[in-house]
């Protein structure tokens, strides 16, 4: 029985140690790479939390969580959007525990998310930080995944040519 206790809160999220740099790169918070970037050269993600959410959902597709060995703080949870971001994380926790009680403990909810993110991170980093342009690769990657998830009757039409056009290069 759950008594009328306050909801256990968590105020930061963690990732596996060593992943931070890649997270920062994908969110565009490091390096000169993203200076004055425009259009297709933009960093793929707006914020660290967005990278985290994508990693988490990729981990979901893989189907198994990976516990963290050495954790490192990534960001504060306050940045998450209530109605979309947190709702999805809660859905994950509900589905994982097959119950709603888990929602009383934010620690648990986030732990589940972090472990899925850990699983999905490797694939995300591989697909986005490859030789091409991250935003272009991310988009093509997502559309591919969508095809697998919800194959449309017009799959042919939805195949965009993701050749990294030289013509899209902008002057620095």
């Amino acid at each position: 029985m759950v008594t009328k206790a306050t909801i256990a809160k968590r105020d930061r999220i963690f990732v596996e140690k060593g992943q931070i740099d890649a997270y920062r790169e994908m969110a565009g918070t490091t390096g000169t790479r993203w200076k004055k970037a425009k259009g297709a050269d933009l960093p793929p993600f707006e914020d660290l939390k967005d990278v985290f959410l994508m990693a988490t959902c990729l981990g979901l597709r893989a189907g198994r969580p990976t516990p963290l060995k050495n954790r490192q703080e990534l960001a504060r949870i306050g940045y998450f959007k209530e109605h979309a971001d947190l709702a999805v994380l809660r859905a994950i926790a509900i589905a994982e525990t097959r119950g709603v009680e888990v929602l009383a403990d934010e620690n648990k909810v986030f732990k589940i998310a972090e472990e899925y993110a850990n699983t999905g991170f490797t694939e995300l980093r591989r697909r986005v930080l490859g030789p091409g342009r991250p935003l272009v690769d991310l988009t093509s990657f997502l559309l591919e995944e969508y095809e697998h998830l919800f194959p449309t009757s017009q799959s042919q039409e939805n195949q965009f040519e993701f050749i990294d056009n030289q013509t899209e290069h902008h002057e620095p």
Partner: protein, 645 residues
């Protein structure tokens, strides 16, 4: 003139000594020199002209073979030479022009042209240096006429373009040796002057006056004649300048238009690129929400669990937690029934309390359930948003590529065009036009004046012949004076008539050649050469049809005119043609190949392989007596002449 041989030494791309011996037989009079573009056909022609006439030719760039130049050590010199051997009226000549270059350093040269030399080779084998080499060449084949015998097939249609009348006139005069007539006239006038001066010694009174007057009139007439020639030449030059300026203006305004177009396109391009950037920003926004559809299966699972719980009444709880606790602490139900300690009601209520979830959690759960339901719709929307944004981006990509290609085309068109200031060109044009008007006035004025003078002169001359002369000696002088004056006047008149007659003959010859060479059922019926040497082709209504001539037909017209000229003069000059068939249809080529050897005493054709094949070649075959190939060596960048027949 009949060419015997041409030897080049280090001329342009020809390294070392290269020789061509020309076909000279009366029936087998055709020499073929074959070479791909760039192998040196035009260079051969240039060499011939340079040898005979020197600086006059349009020679750009270094004339001396580059390989020979580089092989020369510093401090030494290298010689470039062209030697032309030819026959003229049973005499054999050798013309040699030499350019020597001294290598001062690796990059510095000093050029020295040695004196032009022409040697006459007598039948007994003796060599005789000609004292006035340039004069002899001018008399055999004047430089002004040479372009009509040694000609560049590419340039030939310039001949039939407007504002080339003076050139036509000059060419005709030279080729027909009208100059001889003019010299005769001048000579006679000089003789007449001498007699007049003699006569003046015996004259007196009125007679003297008349003689003086005649002398003065003659002098004035001569002066006017010279002025007229000068004005006419200047007018032609100005007209040509005007036509040049107009051409440049057209280029500039075309260039300016293209420039403007380019600027517009660049602005559009920038806008499109911005559009593309914005589309990517939009795509990025959607991508960042893109995790949601990935979680769809999980979301559906969670929603199912929540639905199940709701169905089972667990959420939202049928009874709120707070409400149950109030009941328990009040120990009374809302209906009023008491809830006793340890009663069934109390047990039931306590049990219920255990099954409710904390109110805080309750809120979260309700909220989550609601959020997840609306996220379901998002799951479908997001992929579609991304796809449609990508489709729009691809559309913009195509537009950008199209614009860039057009920009490339414009760049290429503008390349190499000198964009002079339009204002300068306009100013020059105005000046030029003004000058042409002024000169036209001068010409008209001078012609009128000359006419007046001639009339006055005739009056005076008739007065002189009638004048009373007493001494026998004086009478004899008077007769001779009259004779020479009249003869001078007669020759003066003859000049014009002769020119007109020659024009007619040339026209007839040219027409017959043109008929033979041009397509049989063409619309062109006649050729005319007007008084001011305007070359026209007339259609069957007698109207000028020059505009409708294709480039090839213009070439044929020029060819016909030149051939007509050479036939009328009976002049023995060889026709040396550089890529003459380039722009002609195969029918024209066949015709020309058949008839051209008959038009001239000696024919040299500088052609590419494709210009002359199958029927055209077969037609020419019986007349070919010498054939050469120009071989270009890629590795040395030099050409050589190889005999094939």
């Amino acid at each position: 003139m009949k060419l015997d041989s041409l030897t080049l030494t280090n001329f342009r791309q020809f390294y070392g000594d290269q020789t061509v011996k020309f076909a000279r037989d009366s029936t087998r009079n055709v020499t073929i020199i074959c070479g791909v573009n760039g192998a040196g056909k035009t260079t051969l022609l240039t060499a011939l002209s340079w040898c005979l006439y020197g600086q006059d030719i349009n020679a750009s760039g270094e004339l001396i073979n580059k390989r020979a130049l580089s092989e020369t050590p510093v401090g030494f010199s290298v010689e470039m030479k062209v030697q032309a051997m030819f026959f003229h009226e049973t005499e054999r000549y050798s013309a040699t022009r030499v350019l020597r270059a001294d290598k001062i350093s690796e990059k510095e040269w000093s050029h020295r042209e040695l004196p032009f030399s022409v040697t006459r080779i007598r039948t007994d084998g003796q060599f005789q240096t000609v004292h006035n080499p340039m004069g002899i060449i001018e008399s055999i084949l004047p430089s002004s006429v040479s372009p009509y015998f040694f000609f560049d097939g590419e340039k030939i249609d310039q001949f039939t373009r407007p504002s080339h009348e003076e050139e036509v006139k000059y060419a005709v005069k030279q080729v027909l040796k009208i100059e001889l007539l003019e010299r005769a006239r001048a000579h006679l006038a000089a003789v007449s002057k001498e007699y007049r001066q003699e006569l003046a010694k015996h004259a007196s009174g009125e007679f003297t006056t008349l003689l003086d007057k005649q002398g003065r009139l003659q002098d004035q007439l001569e002066k006017q004649r010279n002025s007229l020639e000068t004005y006419q030449k200047e007018k032609t030059t100005a007209e040509r300048q005007l036509s040049d300026i107009d051409e440049r203006l057209a280029q500039v305004s075309a260039a300016r238009e293209l420039s403007q177009k380019r600027a517009q396109m660049e602005a559009t391009l920038k806008a499109k690129e911005n559009e593309r950037d914005r589309l990517w920003e939009s795509i990025k926004e959607w991508d960042n929400r893109g995790f949601i559809p990935l979680a769809r299966p999980t979301i559906e699972k969670a929603v199912a669990i929540l639905d199940e719980k709701r169905e089972r009444g667990e959420i939202p709880p049928g009874i709120r937690e707070q409400f149950v606790q109030d009941l328990l602490s009040r120990k009374r139900c809302i209906c009023g029934r008491p809830i006793g300690e340890g009663s069934n009601e109390q047990i039931e209520l306590t049990r219920l309390l255990g099954e409710t979830i904390p109110s805080e959690l309750e809120n979260i759960v309700i909220q989550t359930a609601g959020d997840l339901r609306s996220l379901n719709a998002t799951c479908v929307a997001i992929p579609e948003e991304i796809r449609s944004a990508m489709r729009r981006k691809v559309g913009v990509d195509d537009e950008i590529e199209e614009i860039q290609q057009k920009l490339d085309d414009i760049s290429r068109s503008l390349e190499g065009s000198e964009l002079e200031k339009v204002s300068d060109l306009e100013r020059k044009r105005r000046e030029c036009s003004g000058e042409i008007v002024r000169l036209a006035g001068d010409v008209g004025r001078t012609e009128t004046l000359m006419e007046q003078l001639r009339i006055q002169l005739q009056e005076v001359e008739s007065g002189i012949s009638k004048a009373e002369v007493h001494a026998k000696q004086a009478k004899k002088l008077q007769r001779r004076f009259t004779l020479s004056s009249k003869a001078a006047d007669a020759v003066d008149a003859i000049c014009d008539v002769f020119a007109a007659d020659m024009r007619q003959q040339i026209r007839k010859e040219a027409k017959s050649i043109f008929d033979t060479l041009i397509w049989k059922d063409s619309q062109f019926q006649d050729i005319s050469i007007s008084d001011d040497y305007h070359l026209e082709v007339l259609d069957r209504w007698g109207l000028p049809a020059r505009r409708e001539l294709s480039a090839g037909e213009r070439q044929v017209l020029s060819l016909a005119f030149i051939s007509g000229m050479s036939k009328v003069t009976g002049e023995e000059a060889p026709l040396v043609m550089d890529t003459p068939f380039g722009r002609l249809s195969s029918q024209h080529r066949e015709n020309i190949a058949t008839y051209i050897p008959e038009i001239t005493k000696q024919l040299v054709l500088l052609i590419t392989d494709e210009e002359l094949h199958s029927t055209a070649r077969a037609n020419l075959e019986p007349r070919i007596d010498a054939e050469y190939e120009l071989v270009f060596d890629q590795s040395t960048g030099c050409s050589s002449i190889r005999s094939v027949r």
